[in-house]
């Protein structure tokens, strides 16, 4: 009698897990969100390239180098504030007992990966800007140095995410590391005010919201910001789906192992 009940329970469990897998597979399939974000990203990227390279004027002093403005500040914004901001917020939501869910840990990890990519791009585009305007690929300027430090910090965060442990231990470790890494973000932000740096302070849009560049340049730059935000959103969705598929994969492996065990003589 007990063995019949055990078999029924385990069959129910298997059925629940199959339903879970089916639900996840439905979620990770084609969706309107992914299409809208993807098409939006491509459109805004094409528009930014077209306006940035062919429509907006050259700068009197900087020449064509000024076109880096349409790439460098948008990727920096997406890395520092959007991606790492999301990682910090999601980590806080994991640590807060009332909102604790593995969803937040996955979101934090996905956003940090994209943030690292964007921050590396920020350093590369900044380096190209530095070569043409300051004459050097790299200088030990406070903002540049602190940004490089931030990149290493988030690479370390991604390394910590790969460590072994139970799901809860891993999520705790990830969230705490993210909070410590986030302390460096305001330091990077205010570095141009605290130190005499080569890197200029916010100069395109004044604190009074006045544009200091022609409207076409301002609009192109704004489009650049929209483009990096949409790409971040699209990558977040794709990266999160991959995390869900990993759950499916481990569930399938588990079911396979259980079936093999059951079929053993």
């Amino acid at each position: 009698m007990t063995s019949i009940l055990e078999t029924e329970n385990s069959d129910n469990q298997t059925q629940k897990e199959i339903t879970l897998i089916e639900n996840i597979l439905k979620k990770t399939g084609p969706s309107y969100t992914k299409y809208i974000l993807g098409i939006g990203s491509v459109l805004t990227a094409c528009l930014t390239i077209w306006l940035g390279l062919f429509i907006t004027p050259k700068d009197e002093h900087l020449g064509n180098t000024v076109r880096l403005l349409y790439v460098h500040p948008p990727v920096a914004w997406a890395a520092l504030y959007l991606a790492f901001g999301t990682t910090t917020l999601a980590s806080l939501l994991w640590l807060w007992p009332k909102t604790r869910s593995y969803f937040w840990d996955k979101i934090a990890g996905a956003s940090a990966e994209i943030g690292v990519l964007y921050l590396a791009l920020t350093l590369v585009t900044g380096s190209i800007w530095g070569r043409t305007t300051w004459g050097v690929w790299w200088t030990w300027d406070a903002r540049l140095t602190l940004t490089a430090v931030l990149l290493v910090l988030y690479i370390a965060y991604l390394a910590i995410r790969q460590l072994d442990g139970s799901d809860k231990t891993k999520a705790n470790r990830n969230a705490i590391t993210a909070l410590f890494a986030a302390i460096d973000v305001p330091i990077v932000h205010f570095s141009v005010l605290w130190w005499n740096t080569l890197h200029q302070t916010a100069s395109v849009l004044t604190p009074g919201l006045h544009l200091t560049v022609p409207l076409s340049m301002g609009l192109t730059m704004g489009l650049g910001f929209l483009c990096t935000t949409l790409i971040w959103g699209w990558m977040m969705k794709v990266r999160y789906d991959i995390e869900l598929l990993k759950v499916v994969d481990s569930e399938i492996e588990l079911q396979r192992a259980i079936m093999q065990r059951r079929n053993e003589p």
Partner: protein, 224 residues
């Protein structure tokens, strides 16, 4: 919580005094690092004098990592289990361990400063600068130990702690290194006086690391 913290401070310092690792291994290492800097930048004393503040803090940073690893190694045998099962408030345990390591780093720092003043022939300039420098050393020690203890505890049962700890600890504490170096410059160069802004930044960093550490130590160890 504070009483638990005090117990841990006493325990860790007693272990350190009995084992003499700080005295016999970490302090000589500080001397060795300074001598290596001397080989690399010397024999001209001018670059050594100009960079003395930075060299001191790099030495302190490297040695502080050893102090952190040492403090965690004491608990490692049980993979952090002993700390969790001790019945002590875990925030208090964090405070105790961070304070004990901060005291050790403070002494390493004072010793490094004294050795530098002699071997790099910089001297120490201005009584007020020296007093502020001691304050800077104390605040920076707390910032370094707070960050170190958290990540030391995080990797307590990990086989890759030797590589992961420096990877996260060095970039994380680089703002402390930067602010402390800037604050220490006048004491060793004799030019100007210590700017309050660096002391304030150091203080804010110490408060941030200590607060985040106190909050996060419990969730970090709860599942081991």
């Amino acid at each position: 919580m504070f009483r638990d913290g005090l117990t841990i401070v006493k325990k860790d310092l007693k272990i350190e005094i009995r084992s003499k690792v700080l005295m016999m291994q970490v302090l000589p290492l500080t001397g060795a690092i300074l001598i290596i800097f001397g080989f690399a930048l010397g024999p001209d004393l001018n670059p050594l004098r100009q960079n003395a503040a930075g060299l001191i803090w790099v030495s302190v940073l490297l040695c502080s990592m050893l102090a952190v690893q040492r403090s965690i190694a004491v608990e490692r045998d049980c993979g952090g289990e002993a700390l969790r099962l001790s019945g002590y408030d875990l925030a208090g345990v964090f405070m105790g361990k961070a304070m004990a390591v901060a005291i050790e780093i403070f002494f390493i720092g004072i010793a490094t400063m004294s050795i530098t003043a002699i071997v790099f022939n910089t001297g120490l300039h201005g009584v007020s600068n020296i007093l502020t420098e001691i304050l800077v050393m104390a605040v920076a020690s707390l910032a370094l130990s707070s960050a170190g203890i958290i990540f030391g505890a995080m990797f307590i049962s990990s086989s890759t702690s030797e590589t992961l700890l420096p990877l996260i600890y060095l970039p994380l504490t680089s703002p402390v290194l930067l602010a402390a170096t800037k604050a220490s410059l006048p004491t060793f160069t004799g030019v100007g006086s210590i700017k309050l802004i660096w002391v304030v930044i150091l203080f804010l960093l110490a408060v941030a690391y200590f607060s985040v550490g106190s909050i996060s130590f419990e969730p970090l160890l709860e599942d081991y």
